[in-house]
């Protein structure tokens, strides 16, 4: 084999599926025109806790076009006590066990569904179903001092709920400089542009679901297990996925609703949640209340960190985010305690949303670090540099690579940090008060076992198959680049097929593990294919195919601390009269290993920083204490950043050559872009007006009181 001079990886290749997306040809889960299709529309509980006493479906069944009403009486029985290998898949089971009991655990839970020949008929039918309840008192509001909150054995990243090194509480009490502040972040929703959708069709005991899904293989495990089927009997197809951000990383109720409805009426059924339904049925980022205590020497060295967080979960599932985990390794404090508590409420089940735990947790930590810098009269970048550890402070393991300091320094130079007057409210431009802020970012770099197949065709083409999902990340493009380089052929000769459970074991597009995990399997399969071709003395007429599995490779990785690091910078302006807050510019500098495609990588990071802006200033799902669930249920009342909210958002990748990560040397970039972004903005707001807002989002009504005094100057 000759060596190509131009390698595909590292080049800004245009998305291989871009044309399908700009022409409307890309096919999403709800867009497969199966014969004899029916539509299902859920009926949702109007109480937050209790029991369904009666369901009167006679009026619904009398409507034209209604085929059936799915209820606890006629639904297929599922194996709800099933055991699954991966805890996060097991955690999806209670919410997938639709209509298997009459208990209501949260407002918005599916209590029935209408199946009809048209969407309009299904929807009207759903409105005609009469449900009677026995209602019980509920509690749907999170409080920091709620003594029913408890420390779980493990949290979402498998670390213990309580972790302590040294004697953090004593060290804090003895520290000469102390910050003790409580921050809160609200419930936030993923709001992918494509609502959760599924089209299900049965063929005997074989089930195919076209699903809006971040992980088709993983999803096939709980779905098949619940139906008492082998995983191979359930095909999940996720060719195109209209965003997910964690909310589609495990199958959610609409997927199971489509399958159960199709089972009942023995014809294909599709389900697409509308936006209001999505707010209670597709998980959300838990609200957090976090108390941060930082104890420091007068020179800025951290002596103690105590990070306590309380979060909520539903009564169905114990889901506790890792909101305190990054705190254990970002800084070299000798005495550290992190404690996550969870309070089980009568609310919808929360779940993953881009950088689960780390997004809210690092917001709180990095806000507190900024408060400490102000207290010490130190530059916030210098304070962070002073506390840079040599090895992972929690485990003592070496870092495979870590360049937080480089990111801070490079960002400072590019952003124009030097010469910044740290005094709050010191920069006024007409009616605007302008401030700048900085925060660190961290996200772990994990890799999961994956399989892939590579096939050589006699005509010189190659087909590589891996059970990946491209939810907008660019995975399909990047995997094509990886395969082309591994096969040493131009991109045009390689086709990469993804998005099917039947391709084989592969992790989801989540946790920033996807590309690293899939690429390893793709490279390995391609290498094995080249060996096989050589052995055969060429490609036989029927082609040649090999399979690779990285389970052993991943298991053989040395124990190290692996993660991406970054520095977030923001400049905001606050209107001194109205309190309007604008983000003029954001800059993120990231040390995340090798960049496989600068074009798509940049889009991912900038997109995540944009979501961070949205988190800082807009997003809040208001808990509804009276009725449970959330008070706002749509995009008019749950605000996400629109085009006019976003001005100059830029990112830079530092060169990083880390041989101890995985085959491609990349760290995963799906999540780190949101981490620290909200803190940088909150810190900039403090710098602009001198007010520390500790509850996200920061809104006009939060800053206006501080502006009273500033206006008269």
């Amino acid at each position: 084999m000759s060596t190509t001079t131009q390698r595909a990886t590292g080049a800004p290749i245009v998305r291989v599926d871009g044309r399908a997306k700009v022409t409307g040809a890309a096919q999403y889960a709800y867009e497969y025109p199966l014969e004899n299709m029916a539509y299902a529309w859920p009926v949702q509980s109007t109480i937050a806790k209790g029991r369904v006493e009666s369901i009167d479906d006679s009026a619904a069944l009398a409507r034209p076009g209604v085929i059936a009403v799915l209820t606890p009486d006629n639904v297929a029985r599922l194996q709800v006590d099933v055991e699954l290998p991966l805890p996060f898949l097991a955690a999806a089971v209670p919410d997938l066990s639709l209509l298997q009991s009459r208990e209501v655990a949260f407002r918005g839970q599916i209590v029935a569904a209408v199946i009809a020949t048209s969407l309009e008929a299904a929807r009207e039918g759903a409105g005609a179903v009469e449900v009677g309840y026995e209602e019980q008192a509920h509690d749907a509001v999170l409080r920091f001092d709620d003594d029913r909150a408890y420390v779980p054995g493990v949290v979402n990243d498998f670390s213990p709920g309580n972790v302590e090194r040294g004697e953090a509480d004593r060290a804090f009490a003895e520290a000469p400089v102390r910050i003790d502040a409580t921050y809160s972040t609200p419930a936030e929703h993923a709001v992918p542009m494509e609502p959760h959708s599924a089209t299900a069709a049965w063929d005997g005991d074989r089930l195919t679901i076209y699903n809006s899904d971040q992980g088709p293989f993983y999803s096939s495990l709980p779905i098949s297990a619940l139906f008492g089927l082998d995983p191979g009997q359930v095909e999940i197809v996720a060719e195109y996925v209209g965003g997910g951000f964690g909310s589609k990383a495990a199958p959610r109720p609409p997927t199971m609703l489509a399958a159960l409805a199709a089972r009942l009426v023995d014809r294909p059924v599709k389900v697409a949640l509308n936006r209001p339904q999505s707010f209670s049925l597709t998980t959300y980022r838990t609200p957090t209340i976090q108390r941060l205590r930082l104890g420091a020497e007068r020179d800025g060295r951290l002596a103690a960190i105590v990070h306590e967080s309380v979060q909520q979960s539903s009564t169905l599932v114990e889901y506790t985010e890792q909101s305190v985990s990054s705190t254990r390794l970002l800084y070299a404090a000798p005495d550290v305690r992190t404690t996550a508590r969870v309070r089980r409420l009568d609310v919808p089940t929360p779940g993953w949303l881009r950088a689960p735990g780390d997004a809210p947790g690092v917001y709180a930590l990095e806000s507190a670090v900024d408060e400490l810098a102000v207290e010490l009269g130190m530059d916030p970048i210098e304070l962070r540099v002073r506390n840079e550890p040599d090895a992972d402070p929690e485990t003592g393991q070496p870092f495979s690579s870590r360049n937080l300091v480089g990111a801070l320094r490079e960002g400072a130079a590019r952003f124009g940090w030097e010469g910044r007057d740290p005094a709050p409210a010191s920069r006024r431009e007409g009616n605007w008060l302008v401030g700048t802020g900085v925060a660190a970012a961290h996200y772990p770099a994990l890799v999961f076992p994956s399989t892939a197949q590579a096939r050589a065709e006699a005509d010189g083409g190659f087909v590589v198959r891996v059970g990946a999902a491209d939810i907008g990340t660019g995975a399909r493009t990047v995997l094509t680049q990886v395969a082309a380089d591994a096969l040493d052929v131009p991109l045009e000769r390689v086709r990469v097929d993804i998005g099917r459970a039947s391709i084989g074991v592969a992790p989801f597009a989540g946790g920033s593990i996807g590309t690293a995990s899939w690429s390893w399997a793709v490279e390995k399969a391609c290498g094995a294919l080249l060996d096989a071709v050589q052995e055969h003395g060429g490609v036989p007429p029927e082609g040649l195919e090999v399979q690779a599995d990285t389970t052993e490779d991943v298991g053989a990785l040395a124990e190290m601390s692996r993660g991406g690091y970054g520095a977030q910078f923001a400049e905001v302006r606050v209107d001194v009269d109205t309190g309007q807050i604008r983000v003029d510019r954001m800059l993120g500098v990231f040390a995340t290993g090798r960049v496989l495609n600068p074009r798509t990588a940049r889009s991912q990071i900038v997109g995540a920083m944009t979501m961070g802006l949205s988190m800082a200033l807009m997003e809040i799902a208001e808990p509804d204490p009276e009725f449970g669930d959330f008070a706002n249920h749509d995009l008019a009342s749950y605000h996400v950043a629109s085009n006019a909210d976003v001005r100059d958002v830029d990112c830079v990748f530092l060169h990083e050559d880390d041989k101890n990560l995985n085959s491609i040397g990349g760290k995963g970039i799906g999540e780190i872009g949101i981490v620290g972004a909200a803190a940088a903005i909150a810190n900039a707001v403090h710098h602009a007006i001198g007010l520390r807002v500790r509850d996200l989002p920061i809104r006009i009504e939060d800053v206006r009181p501080a502006l009273q005094d500033l206006r008269v100057r």
Binding site: V22, P64, M193, P195, G243, R275, A644
Partner: protein, 185 residues
């Protein structure tokens, strides 16, 4: 034309082709395109007119097709994303589609058809001189699409949400085409 109490026959010219379709009187233009005619390029993101994913051109203007009943569009001329390339006279891709690819103005792709149709509508509005909320002199309006700056484009494109956060690329793509020829080609 009403067929009975619940259904009507609707005539539409869609992407240059005359189509007659029987619809449920409750059906939106969006559901008629997607479910009735198999034109799934227009997307349903919210069904409330809050996200813009369903944007198509109706009689040359951008509309949220989820807020438009199909019966109310009877006789109308519709351009969906499937017909956008044809606006340039049957080319492979419209200049705006090429610009979206070049500027990576998309990620998951679900809002993209609506963004492109909306941008075409926005440029046509600017060609007619229509001001936006951020136009300095609203009575004077603007001097065509080529006169739009990033500030104007952001404002005019704010009815189309992109949760992936591709706004920077979208603005760059729209500006490139607006400056070239106002999106007419």
């Amino acid at each position: 034309m009403l067929q009975d109490d619940t259904r009507s026959e609707v005539s539409l010219r869609i992407n240059g082709v005359d189509r007659t379709v029987g619809v449920d009187n409750r059906a939106t233009l969006l559901d008629t395109l997607r479910e009735g005619l198999g034109l799934t390029g227009a997307k349903k993101g919210c069904d409330h007119g809050q996200c813009g994913a369903c944007t198509v051109l109706l009689d040359g203007r951008r509309v949220n097709s989820c807020l438009q009943l199909a019966v109310a569009a009877d006789g109308g001329e519709v351009v969906t994303i499937e017909g956008v390339a044809g606006l340039e006279g049957g080319g492979d891709l419209h200049a705006l589609q090429r610009a979206f690819l070049e500027h990576d103005a998309l990620q998951c792709g679900y809002c993209t058809p609506g963004q492109i149709c909306s941008a075409l509508g926005a440029m046509a509005e600017a060609e007619r001189g229509w001001p936006s909320h951020v136009t300095g002199d609203t009575s004077a309006g603007v001097a065509g699409a080529a006169s739009l700056d990033a500030y104007e484009v952001r404002e005019r494109m704010s009815g189309n949400i992109c949760r992936c956060g591709a706004y920077g690329g979208i603005v760059a793509a729209v500006l490139e085409v607006a400056e070239a020829d106002g999106g007419r080609s």
